[in-house]
Symmetry: C2
Subunit: 392 residues, 2 copies
């Protein structure tokens, strides 16, 4: 195996070529800061390669996090410009579809949930319209007969993560940054308590490398707490397994359709992405009978024509989740070392805002108040004041 | 691409290395008749590679065929000796499991169906025992709580087709026969109305071949009516698509468990085979969302632990079916040219008997009365006497 040489030093190193790492790198490259992304596998090998790419601020009620609303709304508003600049810089299309999302309800409980979603959209100033079942079926003729009401969330768009990530890598490199794959980071060198270098090995031949840098950002998603000699306070993040079924066949939907159980995301290439489970089972990468049954059964209630589509793939991804389900973004207790992970179900949507706020911090030493509640040290502080609080 | 040379002539050629073709070849080789099997793809590429390998005489009521009972019972009785000889000749294990089959019923309709099965088993002199739900769960602790009764069919065994087919090929070659893969038959030469040679091309380089022979057996399963210049009356056979899900995980069953909707076949290698659909859609090889949902949903009713098993594969096979769902076995109107196909859902079980009866015919010119109703010409005869009968 041959691979490009790693440089001896670079101002900023990003660890992880997922959506967060690559968007941070893209943002730094746009600001003309030399940046190097190190990825042990390949671009898109992590959670984003499996993600549906829904850009939805208001999710299911039980996963709503008021603390995140500001960041989500800011990111959703920023998306059109982000996509425009990214497509310009990369020369690639990222499958940005602005048809909105149809959140559907089946029966009385479903409608109750829809009203809750509508109030949440209103509160956040997001435009949405209430539709009867028949009005929804007029928009999307393949919706099932049991759908009794729907909410058209006009600002919930979608992007194709499998197009987005390569575009981010291409744009970063077009602007002078570098993305090295097959390069596994194993630790961080410090001198007098300050970060001085990132060390690791090239996959394949295990040849070691050490690259000096002024700053490094750990953006390794669910793997932030795995296989790293980490000089700072632990990053508390765990994997939450998500299974996604990819179907193919005649196009049956124009826009994202979802309810509280399942989402259906039509891709321009003819795929229909059906997701996703939430499973707290560690890094178990097996696609399971139960998950596929549950997802497809529910998908069929929303759009019976799903029945005849071809199963192309059952994907498994691991979302990075902190104990409070909020992202972890900001400086660690080791000067020069930063973290950006824990985006859970919102990595694709939150990437542009995360990147801008982190770049402000890295380049201009400007800490946005938006990041206050996402600081890496917040659990340590909590456990100091309430030592019995730790559960999972 | 290189490949072994085809011979210039051989006494008997079998077209198709599926379970029927290979078992015929094995039987001929055992009788010291030089035989050559020509297969366009690889051993096990057809329906048998997807089949579950249940050796069940009494199936669901709606697929029962009284005309077939004699042949099925004869074949089931012959299986232990067939397996013993095959394993001896090949030196391989074929996964023959003699734990019987548990046919289960859920609720009143299920029990009704079970009583029907029991009467059929009794009528055919096959041993079976009636069990309560709890008795069934005592035998198979992972059976679901909704199973209210079961029939233990003690003589319904199973074999692993993915082990059986390579063993048949190995045994045939050990006994002096030959199996040539990547060899596509395109037609049959005749002189004065009698078969003289089989012609075709080597896949890969399209190099043509013509092999002289005294007799040939078309055993190409659902493909008997596809892509062949055929000198005899048409072989009326169509593909019936079957989808099968292969799961893997901790062993949850010891023996085959089935109801009217689904079967669960545990393999010694840890797989659990869940099948199968019956779809009249031609050669459409796509695994579909609906089939997988239906199979796994029903499987979960029988054994809830299926939920957590890993999905390894969704297989698609094409059973060969004649209009009357009976096999087509015997001589065509071209002397020297024979057919063995149309075994529909019973190919694995019927293979040994088919092979013996066909070898009797080929070698000793002895036509068993058992084959009367399976003659290739039977549809032609029927349409002559009743020209309006043809539907499907």
């Amino acid at each position: 195996m041959t691979h490009p040489e790693s440089p001896e030093s670079t101002p900023i190193i990003v660890v992880g070529a997922g959506v967060i790492g690559l968007t941070v790198a893209f943002e730094l490259a746009r600001r003309r800061i030399p940046v190097l992304v190190l990825e042990r596998d390949h671009v898109g090998a992590g959670a984003a390669g499996v993600a549906a790419g829904m850009l939805a601020v208001v999710g299911e009620a039980e996963h709503e996090t008021a603390e995140l609303a500001d960041l989500l709304v800011t990111s959703q508003r920023a998306y059109p410009a982000f996509v425009r600049e990214l497509q310009h810089a990369s020369g690639r299309d990222v499958g940005f579809v602005t048809e909105g999302t149809l959140i559907v309800g089946l029966g009385r409980d479903g409608e109750q949930e829809l009203r809750h979603s509508q109030r949440a959209q209103d509160r956040l100033g997001l435009r949405s319209s209430w539709l009867t079942g028949d009005e929804a079926r007029a928009l999307e003729p393949h919706l099932g007969p049991r759908i009794s009401a729907a909410l058209l969330a006009r600002e919930d768009h979608q992007v194709d993560p499998r197009a987005l990530l390569p575009a981010l890598a291409a744009a970063t490199e077009a602007l002078g940054g570098r993305v090295l794959t097959g390069t596994r980071v194993t630790g961080f060198d410090t001198t007098a308590g300050r970060l001085t270098a990132v060390v690791g090995v090239h996959q394949g031949d295990d040849r070691p490398f050490a690259i000096r840098c002024e700053a490094a950002v750990l953006a390794a998603g669910a793997w932030c707490a795995v296989g790293l000699a980490w000089p700072a306070a632990p990053v508390l993040v765990r994997p939450v397994k998500g299974q996604v079924v990819r179907l193919r066949g005649p196009a049956i939907l124009r826009r994202v359709v979802r309810d509280t159980q399942v989402y259906l995301v039509p891709r321009r290439n003819g795929e229909l992405v059906v997701g996703a489970t939430m499973e707290d089972v560690g890094f178990d990468a097996a696609p399971t009978a139960g998950a596929v049954t549950d997802l497809l059964w529910q998908a069929r209630l929303l759009a019976p024509a799903v029945y005849d589509l071809e199963i192309v793939e059952v994907g498994v991804g691991f979302r990075p989740a902190a104990r409070d389900h909020l992202p972890t973004i900001g400086p660690t207790d080791v000067p020069g070392l930063y973290v950006a992970t824990g985006h859970f179900r919102h990595g694709i949507l939150l990437a542009p805002t995360t990147a801008v706020l982190l770049a402000d911090l890295l380049v201009d030493d400007r800490m946005s108040p938006l990041l206050d509640r996402f600081r890496p040290g917040r659990f340590e502080a909590a456990s100091r004041t309430a030592p019995s609080v730790d559960s999972r």
